[in-house]
């Protein structure tokens, strides 16, 4: 279950949509922490995450009338957030738009499951988080969208601007990069980052 996936009553969302300030306040208080944490994981610094959270909620308020109530609210919210963060990365030129080519040529070997299990067991959440920070933007973004925001492959494809069939490839590639960093061989992986 995604961190913000609890029900704020649909009527409250409808009220916020209709311009009720109190309902909007409730909605903000409910979702701002989760969106901040999402941004924190998607963007390089805490300040960026703070800025992005503010901007996302300003956007959400403006776009609330476009929200389709048949969709889960948090999914919609994460889509707005993801698009915003991805846009921030693009403006910062931290994003690599030319990765698709490499994706198709990625060798997909059968991993050694024993070795992978040992690696996973020996690493703490904190180490994984640190390794995530070293990933290139798109890989990190893909993992965050999938395993934090629990977004569908369609939404991820829409956000990252890749074909749906490549989402799995992007995710797998990100996992491989993460494993390399965790194994201590990830030096130079983050060279695409200018931060």
């Amino acid at each position: 279950m995604s961190p913000a996936e609890q029900a704020i009553a649909p009527e409250r969302i409808a009220q916020a949509k209709a311009g009720n300030a109190e309902a909007w306040g409730e909605l903000y208080r409910q979702y701002a922490p989760a969106i901040f944490r999402f941004c924190r994981r998607a963007l390089p610094t805490r300040e960026d995450a703070e800025d992005a959270t503010m901007d996302i909620f300003i956007k959400v308020r403006q776009k609330l009338s476009q929200y389709d109530a048949s969709r889960p609210f948090s999914a919609w919210l994460y889509t707005v957030a993801a698009n915003h963060c991805w846009d921030v990365l693009r403006r910062r030129k931290l994003r690599q738009d030319l990765e698709t080519g490499e994706v198709e040529t990625m060798p997909l070997e059968h991993p050694d499951p024993g070795q992978l299990d040992r690696l996973i067991e020996s690493r703490s959440s904190q180490e994984v988080r640190r390794a995530l920070d070293q990933l290139p933007s798109r890989s990190r973004m893909a993992l965050v969208l999938r395993y934090y925001a629990e977004m569908s492959y369609d939404d991820i494809a829409g956000t990252l601007g890749v074909r749906r069939t490549f989402v799995g490839v992007v995710l797998l590639r990100a996992r491989h990069q993460l494993r390399e960093i965790l194994q201590g061989t990830g030096a130079g992986l983050a060279t695409g980052e200018s931060a």
Binding site: M1, P3, A4, E5, Q6, W24, G25, Q30, Y31, A32, P33, A34, F36, R37, R40, P44, T45, R46, E47, D48, E50, D51, T53, M54, F57, I58, R61, R91, R92, K93, L94, L108, E109, H110, P111, P113, G114, L116, D117, I120, E121, R123, S125, Q126, V128, R129, L132, L143, V144, R146, Y147, Y148, Y153, G168, V169, L172, R175, L178, S194, A195
Partner: protein, 542 residues
């Protein structure tokens, strides 16, 4: 046996494989231990990833606890701009416009506000050179370094205590004045024989002091008449001021017409359309005059300095005289005991019989030459100002990156900082006027107020420049050098645009409003963030 690749395993786990292939894979793993192990390992990896991403719920920053600033109701904006408009009108009608009129009478073009401020500033400092922007920049740099040094050594509560006690101190200072007697009325009269044993602050259409005030007299009125005795200073904002009595202290007048007939023991400064120093009057100290015309028949025991359109000197100047203006006439009854200097458009006239310690040194400025000189000075000031501002910006960015970013963010919201800056500037102007007064009567509060406000005004351009740079060159990467580069470009544009006549002035006014507002908001945000750092962790809604 043909194994499934890792990609297929992952898609299977994530429910993304088409049903036929999913069934194949499912059947295969029942037979194949190796593929089963891959599935399990990937599953473990997914769990590790999810928990790593969802654990460590960092507390939400204080500034996000409240909703985004743009959610302010529209009436706040309306109110803020309304107050600003009223304040700006007041400032223009009662403050700047008459000054311009006076200054153009006194031989200044009156179009370059900055040079006016710098000139009058230099004038107050005495005879020293102009204070250029670089010097101000240097002082602010030093201040930033001192603050940074304190920040490193003091823990937050201690720093907070210092700030709070400084504020309390500043608040405590004006209480001195509030101990004074305050009178309001249509016509305030202190009759002859009456004694006020205190400072007196009076406001009303007409104020007359025939009695004695044992303290300072501060008056806000249309007509001020003092025929009695004031043992302290007289400070007046009045349309007409007449001092016919005895003042033991200084006289400071902001008035349209000033008539001085009595005996003033210390100094006189007058900002006035016309100043008349009667033949029977004496000024024990020096006299500073900003006026369109001045008739000085009385005795000034020490120096006379003035920016005066037309000066008629009939009386005595005990020290040196320095006058800048259009014309100077020294009558036969006049006497100047020190060196005299005149800068203006017309050659000064000295009647036969006038006693001068030395001939008047005069410098007659022609329009063209003066303009060229002004232009060169403006250019130098622009270059130094640019360098100074950039240096201050870099230092702020390096020493207080959090504050820099917070303020830059506030600049980006445009509306709110402009509104806050406008309010701040109006109150700031008021404080500055008050500060000038306090400076004269020697109370530190004026200095303290000016010291607190001036750096904010100065760094305003830094943030607007940085914002402009970002807009032009795109959002910078996190690298400091990139931010500095953008700031340099933005500041350069501001400086160059500032050279455009009239429009440049308006632009700078906008930059000041906008930037000061952002700085104030930045300070507010950063202090709030710091004080709320240890706030309880917001539980996750789940």
């Amino acid at each position: 046996m043909i194994h499934f690749d890792e990609m297929a395993c992952l898609l299977y786990l994530e429910g993304q494989l088409d049903p036929v292939r999913a069934q194949e894979l499912s059947a295969h793993t029942e037979q194949c231990a190796s593929c089963r192990a891959v599935l399990q390992a990937l599953q473990h990896e997914t769990i590790l990833l999810s928990s790593a991403l969802t654990e460590d719920n960092e507390a939400i920053p204080a500034r996000l606890i409240s909703q985004p600033a743009r959610a302010w109701p529209s009436w706040v904006w309306t109110l803020a701009f309304g107050i600003f408009a009223a304040g700006a009108y007041w400032l223009w009608a009662d403050g700047i416009a008459p000054w311009f009129a006076q200054l153009s009478n006194a031989g200044f073009g009156g179009t370059d506000m900055f040079s006016m401020i710098v000139f009058s500033g230099a004038f107050w400092e005495g005879w020293s050179d102009m204070i250029d922007a670089m010097q101000i920049g240097a002082v602010i740099l030093a201040a930033i370094l001192v603050i940074a040094w304190f920040r490193r050594r003091l823990r937050r509560p201690a720093a907070l205590a210092v700030v709070v006690s400084a504020l309390l101190f500043a608040l405590a200072l004006p209480q001195h004045a509030s101990a004074a007697e305050v009178l309001r009325g249509r016509a305030v009269l202190i009759p002859s024989g009456n004694v006020v044993h205190n400072d007196l602050i009076v406001a009303g259409p007409s104020v007359t002091v025939d009695g004695t005030i044992e303290g300072d007299l501060i008056a806000f009125t249309r007509n001020l008449t003092v025929t009695g005795h004031v043992t302290g200073d007289v400070i007046a904002f009045a349309e007409q001021s007449m001092i016919d009595g005895i003042v033991d202290g200084n006289v400071r007048l902001f008035t349209r017409s000033a008539i001085l007939q009595g005996a003033i023991a210390k100094n006189v400064s007058a900002f006035s359309n016309s100043v008349n120093l009667g033949s029977k009057s004496t000024v024990g100290g020096g006299m500073i005059v900003f006026a369109a015309e001045a008739e000085l028949d009385g005795k000034v025991q020490r120096d006379l300095m003035g920016i005066i359109g037309r000066t008629d000197l009939d009386g005595l100047v005990g020290g040196q005289a320095w006058i800048r203006g259009r014309s100077l006439n020294v009558a036969s009854t006049a006497e100047i005991r020190g060196p005299a200097r005149f800068e203006g458009r017309e050659q000064p006239t000295v009647d036969a019989g006038a006693k001068l310690a030395s001939p008047i040194q005069s410098e007659i400025t022609q329009e063209g030459r003066r303009n060229r000189r002004m232009r060169a000075r403006l250019f130098v000031r622009t270059v130094f100002g640019y360098a100074g501002a950039l240096l201050v910006g870099i230092l702020l960015l390096v020493v207080f990156p959090g504050f820099f970013r917070a303020t830059l963010r506030e600049v980006g919201t445009i509306g709110l900082p402009i509104a806050i800056g406008a309010l701040g500037l109006v109150t700031g102007m008021f404080l500055a006027i008050l500060g000038v007064l306090l400076l004269f009567i020697g109370v530190g509060a004026g200095v303290a107020g000016a010291l607190a406000y001036a750096p904010i005004l100065y760094v305003a351009q830094v943030f607007v420049g940085a914002w402009l740079g970002n807009k032009i060159m795109g959002e910078p990467p996190v690298a400091t050098s990139a931010i500095i580069g953008r700031m340099a470009v933005g500041l350069l544009i501001l400086r160059v645009a500032g050279l455009i006549p009239i429009l440049g002035g308006l632009l700078w006014l906008a930059v000041l409003l906008w930037g000061t507002g952002a700085v104030m908001l930045g300070i507010y945000r950063i202090t709030r963030a710091e004080s709320a750092e240890s706030a309880p962790v917001q539980p996750l809604p789940a």
